[in-house]
Symmetry: C2
Subunit: 381 residues, 2 copies
């Protein structure tokens, strides 16, 4: 186990009807800007619940934070928030709205252009306090301090670290009406977040291994059932809690992390607009294929504990574990190959070029360079 420091102060408020607790969490003298994505919250009743809970509050609304939130949109929100002297933010939406609002929270107290904050990577300056009402289980943003922002003009997509939300409200009922494609992406995103912190080497922490496997086992169990009945409260609650727990630091204590799949996936989104979770369904199995030697022991443990693969040679067991993973991603309803999305070698060239230009190397061993990213993507054709 590596030395580590863990702290996560987010107040997690989970359950049926919990949006009505909003007024216990936001001081009544605050001027609140509520941020939204598109209009789905007006259809599923979340908007009405939020407005009802905040009756009597001084609120303004900012609409239109898009999937893969763009700096172009967020600049407008920051401008509005500054003009209106907002001193509390409430993000109502999925990971994109929450990620975007984390940048707004920092931008409201920053004099320069907000893209500079993204480029800093670690935002340590003060931010406006932020609460969230989560509508889409996937990114874990509701209980961590990270965010990912896209710059449309340059087709760039980068992560940054900032401050935790003060609270997050999770009502599993709000997920009943989500489009199946979003559920599918959310499941793969959660699965892949877990793998990024788990699929490295064995023997780092027995407990963290078990907890990561616990998330994976839960997803494997609930995914086909959710496909049958997206209105089952217990199922959706299990999925929603898993998504939050997959990226809030709880399974990352003292262990190394990978994140190569995410970094390559971000490029696919930036270049082709593919949903984030969908890019992971394509790249994730490729990362396993190309790095199967370094990750071999862990792939075998994963195969045994998550997929019940207990016989065969070492190579057969590793093959089977990777195949189970790709099949699982397909079973939730996503494609897993670049060719299925008409993504060609030019994209692979461009991603290799970008990695090389930035002189980056990802993965737990810091060896996923542009050339290795190319190998991974080529294995996903």
């Amino acid at each position: 186990m590596n030395n580590f420091v863990f702290q996560n102060p987010v107040k997690l408020i989970m359950g049926k009807g919990m949006i009505s607790e909003l007024n216990k969490e936001i001081p009544s003298d605050k001027r609140v800007m509520i941020t939204f994505g598109g209009g789905s919250v007006k259809k599923n009743g979340v908007y009405d619940q939020v407005k009802e809970a905040l009756k009597g509050y001084d609120t303004i609304e900012f609409w239109g934070i898009e999937p893969n939130p763009s700096i172009e949109t967020l600049r407008k929100a920051i401008e509005l928030g500054k003009k209106e002297k907002v001193d509390f933010l409430l993000a109502v939406g999925g990971g994109s709205v929450i990620d975007g609002t984390k940048l707004i929270a920092a931008g409201l107290l920053y004099d320069g252009d907000a893209w500079e904050l993204v480029q800093k990577r670690f935002i340590t300056s003060d931010t406006v306090p932020l609460g969230t009402v989560l509508t889409l289980p996937a990114t874990g943003s509701e209980m961590n301090y990270g965010g990912v922002i896209t710059r449309k003009e340059t087709k760039e997509k980068y992560g940054f670290m900032s401050h935790f939300p003060v609270f997050s409200i999770l009502d599993p009922e709000v997920t009943f009406s989500l489009p199946p494609h979003q559920i599918a992406c959310g499941i793969v995103d959660t699965f892949t977040h877990t793998l990024e912190q788990y699929m490295t080497t064995t023997g780092q922490s027995r407990l963290m291994d078990r907890w990561a496997e616990g998330i994976l086992q839960t997803l494997v169990e609930v995914a086909p059932k959710i496909k049958e009945n997206q209105h089952d409260y217990q199922l959706m609650a299990d999925f929603m809690l898993s998504a939050t727990m997959a990226l809030n630091g709880f399974i990352a204590m003292g262990v190394t992390q990978d994140w190569a799949t995410h970094m390559i996936g971000h490029e696919l989104t930036a270049l082709h607009g593919l949903s984030h979770g969908h890019t992971l369904a394509i790249v994730g199995p490729g990362t396993m294929r190309v790095l199967r030697e370094a990750k071999g022991d862990k792939l075998i443990q994963y195969g045994e504990r998550v997929w019940n693969i207990t016989s065969g040679t070492r190579d057969e067991r590793i093959d089977a574990a990777i195949e189970c993973t790709e099949k699982f991603f397909r079973s939730v309803g996503l494609t897993t190959r670049l060719s299925e999305e008409n993504i060609s070698g030019e994209t692979i060239d461009e991603i290799e070029r970008r990695f090389n230009e930035r002189e980056v190397a990802y993965g737990e061993n810091g060896n996923v360079t542009g050339a290795v990213a190319r190998q991974i993507l080529e294995s996903c054709i």
Copy 2:
């Protein structure tokens, strides 16, 4: 899954040499009272590490917080702390020192007698900030807001809830020199904390079940190895992290809890001075035996996932799961029967009387009355 609110702001600092980080965590202008148990920290180097890290700080020391910390001792600490105008507390020890120091933290800002605070059960008034350096993995007190205090004159032992520590430092190396009996009690305490939040009914939360089982599986795996080599860093780190994670709320989200074993165990400690973990090794299997009907489905899940019990009739599987549990507690080096500790029917009479007098009923179904406690204890003779 039941609705729940979760928040745990403790900063967990874990690893080799991390005690040296103390001066980053305590503001240098604080007047710090460091609290200790007996003298073991002087033998194992912890005392020296703490003093070295706090060079230049204005500190006083309070020694002698005993196992099952007594209100009689803590009153003296509060008196000293008030006189010395202490404004930061550092608990260096195991669960007893930390529990006791939580009461000191409240008592320093309270005008009445500190036993009144224990009787309140929920301390909501201000407390002096408290950090900890953990020396014995067991109670989880380093990352929760509870404590248990004994009143010697009346042989009473009660729990209370107060504030979280600000930070806790866990260096697995400090456990290398612990007496094997304390390790054994710590393992059983951790195991039983997990069971209190798990051994109820199935189907409440797939993820919380997996995480609880993950702690149990880890303990089952490391316990015999620790007996062989208590100086193995990875083993002790796994154990130490498990102990903290077993009682910090992480496995309690949205699920019901039992705690009957603990409440009966506290009485055995209060009446006979038995180590806390040891009482759980005796009472825990008894709770399973007597409540085997209500807990049946969960006992079967537990048997399968933790002990690999996959065949036999329902009753046989339940029997086997309970037997495995008792055998495990014996394997770490503890007795599991009242008769082995010369505890007789008079004690059972007294515990039944106390439960009845207090008109309490514990357990996830609120049905562990004095009469049921008698049944449980009689099954442990």
